[in-house]
Amino acid sequence: MIGGLFIYNHKGEVLISRVYRDDIGRNAVDAFRVNVIHARQQVRSPVTNIARTSFFHVKRSNIWLAAVTKQNVNAAMVFEFLYKMCDVMAAYFGKVSEENIKNNFVLIYELLDEILDFGYPQNSETGALKTFITQQGIKGQFQTKEEQSQITSQVTGQIGWRREGIKYRRNELFLDVLESVNLLMSPQGQVLSAHVSGRVVMKSYLSGMPECKFGMNDKIVIDKAGKGGVTDEVGKSDLGGGGSTSGKQSIAIDDCTFNQCVRLSKFDSERSISFIPPDGEYELMRYRTTKDIILPFRVIPLVREVGRTKLEVKVVIKSNFKPSLLAQKIEVRIPTPLNTSGVQVICMKGKAKYKASENAIVWKIKRMAGMKESQISAEIELLPTNDKKKWARPPISMNFEVPFAPSGLKVRYLKVFESKLNYSDHDVVKWVRYIGRSGIYETRC
């Protein structure tokens, strides 16, 4: 199990050091600093073994978090824990920065004591932690016996992520389908790989202990329903909005993972997503699709080397979605060689600039409707070099945001049942939004 946990700043100074196991000595703190932080080279592995001691590290901006062990621990668990640790810290005091850590070090020690016992991760849901680890620290004294046992049963209980007795005057639900579409395309326009990784993020402000049921146009469910002759109220629901794409009825989801509130065994057997939601914002599920993805943009590059000191680049982008929809925050990044001396750019739309520090031409377009096309051409002057090594020609990358889900996913329903309190599914105000963003959207040139 985890033997110790250290947090360093970018210089390698220790900000937090908590040792859980006797086999981890103080010298471990120094070993990591000297061998990893001060090594001043690209990290070749997130797991380092120094003198039979293993170090796992993650970096958040310029803060290093390192977990140390001498045993054969579950490596995936250690990294998951380190991420969780960052989330918990962020939930308590915002950005994980040197200043925030220094200002909150007592709190961090308190948290570390609670969420890691003898190196075993314990309940680390912020919702639960916040009920008894507070920055005031004295809450313990004013609690009644009932409150205390309520806390402990929540921390250890089956529904560790939600406390009882939550009340809202207006029961509201916000549901965001956030997708990032990833593409790697060859210069000839052949799709080398494409996938959508999506997340369903919810903000729920519901009273009591509501039971929720979430449905989407999952191919397996739809097909099953179709066979059984059961017609769902698709389309009648007020959630069917966002419809941007053609009449695609259902989508094939390659794989999905769920927040721990979702009953996995039920999903496995009936493929229904039911859960008691945490309060506030959380990520309900993640999914991945690879079939029939709508690629919102197509990039057509043309690079021509004119002699040894000049490059001509022409890039065309085409938007590929309903003309009534608008894509936003479009940015095309065209890499330039290191020995670029000057660039002339002409673009039809938006603004383009050569950024010498980033070795790229950055072309920005604020808005662009569907089924349009735009073009940029640039002349790149090069300094003559005797460097034998050829320019690696990094791919042209793109950023954008579109108001639909490139996977074609649609929310069919989200039902809320709370049997003890007297509000029904109809009383809950529900909002659904679809946002598709570019992930790594690259075209080789």
């Binding site: 004591d113 313990g140 991945r288």
Partner: protein
């Protein structure tokens, strides 16, 4: 910044100030002072002088202050044990507090204080807390048992905490169950035979129920524990798999990987024609692919594991090649791992795509990555025959780029392609020869020379080319020298007329002017061959070479099986068994996959051969050797009484029965320094020997304590008693920088030349690097030579035992061994000493054991034990099978 580089002491003034503040009446001031103390402690300042003052603040109703004081206590209690006692009262009182949070805090902290006296006081509160009405206290107490066990294992057993912990597995609260499982699993690791967890269908059922209800971390503990269970039959296996598969959809990657581990293991037991088997295979792929969209560090862990899974069950991911394509922004560690998996998945169906990708990668920036990509192209050529031609032309394209390291790497792989497809791609040789001058790395030079020598008859100016290398012969690395020697001899045999002078020159360089024994030996052999029988020389040197195998880099199957049982853990990241990086006996239990259709979980590590096979005799002077084995190592030559336990082997014998073998490990001796840095120009070598999965391993730790970089490591053994010889070259691939340490394990074979050594288990080793050649000698434990199939049938044993002449028998005693006969026999079996029979005569347990040495010699032993008497009497005898010498 300097302040943290050195652990420095707080000046007296600061301590004094803090002391005053700690004793202040104002609560706020006190708290601030304790905070300052903790802050100093964090950066490594020594604030232990404040111990009494801080402990005085413990009696407070302020929970935050209390926690801070506890934190301080955990850090310094060990250095001030007497003072720490002052805290006991508060702890005991807090364990009775009406607030469950305080009770849990007290029991949690108390377990972290490693002071014997405190541990005694801990027992009563802990017992109460384990039965507390509040689940939060119980789950904390469960972990506390593991803490206490780490400090004083005996105490935990005596106090019966283990039983209470076992009861908690049936607790109503899932988190208590999870923590109890975690604690028990860890404790069980240090008692491999205790059957602590006592997994049976009922308890498994309880765990599976808790699995649905507990936190993500708890699910990991439970799944990792389930992975140690061996179902009774395929039905049970299937039903567990069915209940574990929903976990594959969990958001936590560690839960997913642990579930994959359970499924991969239990799948072994399912019949392949079962529908469910196919379904399960299909279900495994998507979650594995999803892991690749996690954060990069987790991707790395996932990729290392996928690498294993792909080797074990290639069918799972064979259609998922595309997801392993490298992204431009992937961290380098992710890129390198993806590349590895791409090669493993390469097949005729997808080779075109793979090659296009690899070509793309070969133009990237990172040198390591580019090299690996080029090498990958070569491996594709060897793996997928249909693609060989395309690979070769891709490589030629890359050579045209003239990027130095790309060219060198390409030449190295082209050599391998020639070895796989001889006489097929010679047309490229001309292009290769153009790049001769740019080769500066030994491996590339050696490869090029090999190609020239191998195809000398088709290269018109082969003699000129090789001659050009000869000029700087002594500056070349051994690898190149050896290759050059062979290449020129090949050339001579092919074109004898015009190359006579050249061959003479190289032979004299190799034999007369070189200090390297390898080179000299090879030179002399060629010389002799050429001068006595040129026809034979031709047959030997130009013999048809075996084609190289398709996959040379696959993990050895037994290791792979073990690593599959460790999916998700560090072992699977390092691709090493836990014993290679975990100290002591903890966690080095060897795990194996269950076999299909086994009725009982007892698939011990006894290898098949129950009947003794006539051992082949390979040792010439075995009579002497036999005498030596008995006299030198097992008993002093003259006396018949109990010998003093001084000789090396004697210690080894003790070790076998003693604490060192608490678990079924084959790790035999702790590392010793064999070659101190002072004697070897800064190179320090320490090491140990081990027997793992039937292979003898020499574990070397090389440390560079000099200022300059060391490269070109090689190793050789002198002839020795058991014919030990390195089974492969010393795998030190990267240069060893100053102050760097590298661990290498060198597999040994026992088919090398034999010479009797004194003492018998002495081994003389020569290690060479770019600086010099160094010699040292070390001794290996005889027990590592005990082979796995050393089990004999009773009758054979009896007959053999009778056949042993009295002269060949000896007796000695082992003292102070507190084990009963079963435990002893279990432990010995772990070292391949097999108990053939056991009987009890007049209160004495007699164990009859057999050992088979790697050279085929049997050693039989009788172990006499008397209950209550810690001294054992061992009688040993041996007889050569097949031949009767006496």
């Amino acid at each position: 910044m300097l302040s943290v580089m050195f652990r420095f002491h707080v000046c007296a003034g600061e301590i004094f100030e803090l002391k005053a503040e700690l004793n202040s009446d104002k609560k706020e001031k006190k708290k601030e002072a304790v905070k300052k103390v903790i802050a100093s402690m964090t950066v490594g300042k020594d604030v232990s002088a404040l111990f009494p003052d801080v402990v005085n603040c413990m009696q407070t109703d302020n929970l935050e202050l209390k926690k801070l004081v506890y934190l301080y206590l955990m850090n310094y209690a060990k250095s001030q044990p007497d003072m720490a006692i002052m805290a006991v009262n508060t702890f005991v009182k807090d364990c009775e507090d009406p607030n469950p949070l305080i009770r849990a805090l007290a029991v949690r902290t108390m377990g972290c204080i490693r002071v014997d006296k405190i541990t005694e006081y801990l027992c009563e509160p802990l017992r109460k807390c384990l039965k507390d009405e509040d689940p939060y206290v119980r789950k904390t107490a469960a972990v506390c048992v593991a803490k206490l066990h780490d400090i004083n294992a005996q105490l935990v057993e005596d106090q019966g905490f283990l039983d209470t912990l076992k009861d908690l597995i049936s607790d109503s609260n899932p988190m208590v169950v999870a923590n109890a499982v975690a604690a028990l699993s860890e404790i069980a690791e240090s008692h491999p035979n205790s059957n602590l967890l006592d997994l049976n269908p009922q308890s498994i059922n309880k765990l599976l129920t808790a699995l649905n209800e507990c936190t993500e971390w708890g699910q990991i503990f439970i799944l990792d524990c389930l992975a140690n269970y061996t179902p009774r039959d395929d039905r049970e296996s299937q039903s567990i798999c069915e209940r574990v598969t929903p976990r594959l959809s969990h958001a936590n990657s560690a839960v997913v990987l642990s579930a994959v581990k359970v499924l991969m293991k239990f799948m072994e037991m399912l019949p392949k024609d079962l529908d469910y088997y196919g379904t399960l295979l299909k279900k495994l792929a998507p979650p594995l692919v999803t892991l690749l969209s996690a954060e990069p560090e987790l991707q790395y862990v996932a990729l290392r594991n996928i690498n294993l899974i792909v080797q074990k069950r290639p069918e799972i991911l064979k259609h998922e090649m595309k997801v392993f394509f490298v992204k431009y922004n992937d961290p380098i560690y992710v890129k390198l791992e993806k590349l590895d998996i791409m090669i493993r998945l390469a097949s005729q169906a997808n080779i075109a795509q793979v090659l296009a990708e690899l070509k793309e990668y070969a133009t990237e920036v990172d040198v390591d990555f580019v090299r690996k990509a080029v090498r990958a192209i070569g491996r594709c050529a060897i793996k997928v025959e249909q693609s060989a031609e395309r690979c070769v032309s891709t490589l030629l394209d890359l050579i045209q780029t003239k990027v130095n390291y790309v060219v060198q790497e390409a030449i190295v792989v082209i050599k391998d392609i020639f070895r796989k497809y001889p006489n097929k791609y010679e047309s490229v040789i001309a292009t290769l020869c153009e790049n001769l001058d740019s080769l500066d790395e030994p491996e590339a030079r050696a490869a090029m020379i090999w190609i020239v020598g191998e195809y000398a008859e088709r290269i018109d100016n082969a003699d000129e080319l090789l001659e050009s290398f000869l000029e700087g012969f002594h500056d070349e690395s051994t690898q190149v020298q050896l290759q050059l020697l062979t290449a020129i001899v090949k050339l001579f045999l092919k074109k004898p007329t015009e190359t006579q002078e050249l061959v003479q020159q190289v032979l004299s360089l190799a034999t007369q002017d070189s200090d390297n024994p390898d080179l000299r030996d090879r030179g002399y052999i060629y010389w002799r061959l050429l001068s006595t029988d040129p026809v034979a020389a031709k047959e030997v040197v130009l013999a048809e070479k075996p084609l190289i195998s398709e996959e040379t880099d696959l993990i050895e199957p037994t290791l792979l099986e073990e690593l599959i049982c460790h999916i998700g853990t560090l072992a699977s990241v390092y691709h090493k068994p836990p014993s290679a990086f975990v100290e002591g006996s903890r966690g080095v239990m060897h795990k194996r996959l269950p076999a299909q259709g086994t009725e009982s979980p007892d698939v011990g590590n006894v290898a098949g051969g129950s009947a003794p096979e006539a051992a082949p005799s390979i040792i010439p002077s075995q009579g002497d050797l036999l005498g030596d084995l008995l006299n030198l190592d097992l008993a002093p030559p003259t006396t018949t009484g109990p010998p003093p336990p001084t000789s090396g082997m004697q210690m080894g014998g003790m070790d076998l029965l003693g604490g060192g073998l608490d678990s079924l490990t084959f790790l035999l001796w702790y590392p010793q320094v064999w070659l101190p840095a002072m004697k070897a120009k800064g190179l320090e070598i320490s090491g140990t020997f081990a027997r793992r999965a039937g292979v003898i391993q020499m574990e070397l730790v090389l440390t560079n304590k000099a200022m300059s970089v060391m490269t070109d490591f090689a190793i050789q053994f002198n002839r020795n008693s058991f014919g030990l010889a390195p089974a492969g070259p010393l795998q030190v691939l990267t240069p060893l920088g100053p102050n760097q340490t590298i661990e290498v394990s060198l597999p040994l074979s026992t088919v090398g030349p034999v010479m009797k050594m004194d003492p018998l288990n002495n081994l003389q080793v020569a290690v060479k690097n770019n600086i010099d050649v160094f010699y040292f000698s070390c001794q290996y434990p005889i027990s590592m030579l005990f082979v796995e199939d050393g089990k004999m049938e009773r009758q054979v044993f009896l007959a053999t035992w009778k056949d042993i002449p009295n002269d060949n028998e000896s007796q000695f005693q082992i003292q102070d061994c507190h084990l009963n006969s079963d435990a002893a026999s279990n432990k010995l079996q772990g070292s391949n000493i097999f108990t053939i029979a056991k009987r009890t005569v007049e209160g004495q347990d007699m164990l009859y054991m057999a050992i088979k040495l790697s050279n085929g010699i049997w050693v039989l032993a009788e172990l006499k034990m008397q209950a209550g008497n810690p001294n054992y009497t061992v009688s040993l005898g041996t007889r050569r099978d097949g031949e009767q010498h006496y």
